[in-house]
């Protein structure tokens, strides 16, 4: 076991895999920064290049690229409020709010440092979990996955504003998200739902155009109306300091970062939960760490913990999502599905053998994720202050560039003008939500989890009828969901009594 761990490290540290990894990192860096151009697409495009490589080299290349995408995606989210990837949208809420307060450097520092911690914790969690990973994954059947989605939806409680009114708005926004997830052809009867007789909507609403609309458009309008720059009228000097402050924040809230990393790893291991879920669950958990109503209000307005949570989960989930791919040949995401294609190309057979006979190769992949993150974070820190200075650029100069990124980004999801329309429609919805004081996070959470919840509920009932309700893990998860909903209420009562 320990031997395999080191053997894996040595495999990656040979000069050829290392060079390929650096090439992958350089590529992934840009892919992550640019919204829309997703990690999965890039993996598909790069796959032909691995034919001539050895397995360890090929995975160093592919995974190095993939691991970095999530990290640099956070940068775009923080600076411009435009999700660089579908998996880095949660960082916007507090990260971009910080940028607007002139703390872009601190937010970026926090995002990168927590990413790094996330990647390392995720890797270690995996190393520890490998002996029990197969039983763990096999314990989570459709009923358990459904309940996991419910736990995720329950986090809406802590993502909403306090008070009955705030809760109500949160759950309504979440309900709207769930509704949006039902658009498209349903998988049970094949009926087209809410497609308005357009072919475009058959496949359902794509996450990227919706996220870009809901988050980026209101920010752009805000920037245009305020005039000035993203960071407002703050003196130039204040912007550049703070990257180090962000790193310190990571250690100030170290346990939160660790817990969110573990959430990320766990969601990553669960096949079928998808990459976007982890960051929102982690954000929900981070929001729970607010000790009183005053602190709670700070979330969404630039609390650094709102950056640390999703930042950590985003990278720790990568290691986790390798597991179903490697151990069962069942990919947890599109990117992993493409990676699975890479396995075949290289003559590796995913399955139980990868956790025993080929364990060093498996560990070399985990190491690749860790090393790629370390390299990226170090490189990023070199330019961090220059990047942060972008928030001091005049809006009139910045807006056209951001708009181009926004629309190209959403258009790449289907190469269809419908993508642009969806961005505009959800941009309007997002703008109205911001104006009216409705929280956007529950909406996104509902949308991300809607399809998962619906499908697994249907399967659970079709397969087990009512018997699934009494499965032990289902009961435990139900208790957790109730606790997640009640927690903010209890917290409030405690605050009142104190």
């Amino acid at each position: 076991m320990i031997e395999a761990l080191f053997e894996g490290l040595l495999l990656v540290l040979q000069w050829k895999p290392l060079v390929f990894m650096l090439a992958g990192i350089a590529l992934g860096f840009w892919v992550g920064l640019l919204p829309g151009l997703g990690g999965a697409t890039t993996l598909a495009l790069m796959l032909p290049f691995v034919y001539a490589m050895q397995p360890v080299e090929a995975f160093a290349f592919l995974l190095g690229m993939h691991a970095v995408v999530a990290t640099t995606g956070d940068i775009t989210s923080v600076l411009f409020g435009v999700p660089g990837e579908a998996t880095s949208a949660a960082v916007i809420l507090d990260g971009h709010a910080m940028a607007k307060k002139g703390e872009a450097g601190r937010a970026l520092g926090a995002a990168l440092a927590s990413s790094l911690v996330g990647a390392i914790v995720g890797a270690f969690a995996l190393a520890v979990a490998i002996p029990m990973v197969r039983p763990l994954v096999l314990t989570f059947g459709s009923p358990e996955l459904f309940m996991l989605a419910i736990v995720g939806i329950a986090f809406i409680a802590s993502l909403s504003a306090p008070g009955p009114r705030g809760m109500m708005r949160g759950f309504l926004a979440g309900g709207f998200g769930l509704l949006c997830a039902t658009v498209g052809q349903d998988p049970q009867a094949g009926i087209a739902r809410y497609t308005f007789d357009t072919l475009y909507l058959w496949g359902g609403l794509d996450l990227v155009p919706v996220l870009v609309g809901v988050f980026a458009i209101p920010e752009i309008i805000d920037l245009a109306v305020r005039r000035g720059s993203i960071a407002g009228a703050l003196p130039d000097g204040r912007i550049s300091k703070g990257a180090l402050e962000g790193v310190k924040d990571t250690f100030r809230h170290f346990w939160l970062t660790i817990r969110c990393s573990l959430i990320g790893t766990f969601i990553g291991i669960m096949p079928g939960m998808g990459g976007s879920v982890a960051q929102w669950m982690a954000y929900g958990h981070a929001a729970q760490s607010a000790r009183n109503a005053e602190e709670r209000k700070g979330f969404g307005a630039g609390d650094v913990r709102g950056v640390l949570g999703p930042g950590a989960a985003n990278n720790s989930k990568e290691g986790g999502s390798l597991i179903p791919t490697i151990a069962f040949g069942v990919p947890g995401s599109t990117a992993m599905a493409i990676l699975l294609g890479g396995f075949f190309l290289l003559g590796l057979v995913p399955g139980p053998d990868m956790l025993t006979k080929h364990l060093p190769v498996t560990f070399s992949m985990v190491w690749t994720i860790v090393i790629a993150n370390i390299v990226t974070v170090l490189v990023c820190f070199l330019f961090l202050n220059q990047l942060a200075r972008l928030t001091a650029v005049r809006g009139a100069v910045l807006i056209p560039a951001i708009l181009v990124l926004v629309f190209i980004g959403s258009y790449t999801s289907n190469n269809h003008y419908g993508d642009i329309l969806i961005t505009l429609v959800f941009g309007a919805i997002g703008f109205l939500m911001v104006m009216g004081g409705w929280p956007r996070a529950p909406f996104v959470l509902g949308m991300v989890l809607g399809k998962i919840a619906e499908n697994y509920l249907y399967i659970s009932v079709a397969r087990y009828e009512a018997a699934w309700l009494t499965r032990p893990v289902v009961l435990v998860l139900a208790a957790i969901a109730v606790a997640v909903i009640l927690y903010p209420l209890l917290q409030r009562r405690k605050a009142v009594h104190a």
């Binding site: 999965a40 034919y51 998988p187 190469n415 269809h416 399809k451």
Partner: protein, 329 residues
Amino acid sequence: MKFLVLLLAALAPATVLAQYYAGKTVTIIVGYKTGGGYDATARVLARHLPKHIPGKPTVIVQNMPGANSIIAANHVYAVARPDGLTIATFNRNLPIAQLIKVDGVKYDMTKFAWIGSAASECTVLAIRTDLPYNTFEELRKSKQQIVIGATGPGANTYDFPLLLKEFLGVNLKIVSGYQSSADIMLAIERKEVDGRAGSFTSVRPFIDRKLVKPLLRARATEPGVENLPIDEDLAPTPRAKAIMALRSAPEVVGRPYVMHPDTSPEHLRIMRQAFAAAIKDAELVAESKKAKMDLEFVDGDFAVKVMKEVLSQPKDVVDEFSKYVKFGE
């Protein structure tokens, strides 16, 4: 002199065509996003086609996903120019969408300029190896219910077992809603379901790993499953046989490649030759073998025949067929 003229005349089209494609870009439009089987096949072809087209044009892949690739088919049928530079590859079940008159279908499958198909996709039924049934007959006779995992109506994971249940009297319970065929495989592993139907390509790694065993297949065949019994052969009535045949007919044309209906016969001929040669290309064969995809060229004329066969069914067969089979995936 006369001989020279004749010679020139004979050579002319080839040189003209070489000039035609030289420096140009041929686009293969894929009706799905990056990452799936249709996309992977197109990308392998795009790498090796240029060698086999006179003038060695650049070949690129463009993804046009949406509506289970109806959007891509409509585009190449009506919008793309018939200049021999745009090729489409899409859902093999598009003739079914046309047959059962799905809203939004603007193409006529029989009118495309058919290059052909790059592979045939065989659907198999596979069940867990620890179940006591070794042949389909044993399963059928046992009358015990087994649970089949599926993605949704319109996919072979759903339609194939549905017809088996309706016509061959196997006691199957079909549970649909899994997000991908890989998710069903995991459900099999944790014994949530007992088996699944799916393309042999996607099931094969799990057969090799001895997680499942194949019991039955549809008409289209591939190396490795030739000896399995075929669903149609077990059909109790001609009507049942016709419906099963109709479901599996498009699978013979598993990876369709077409161009605009008005494409000139010269351009079509060039592309057919190029595809046939590329699929035999030693480098391509080596690559596709590594990637575990079996490519085999099926000529365009044969594809048109299959399309006509599917679309010329009597109304009563179509009516009954559409009771069971929806269009999807």
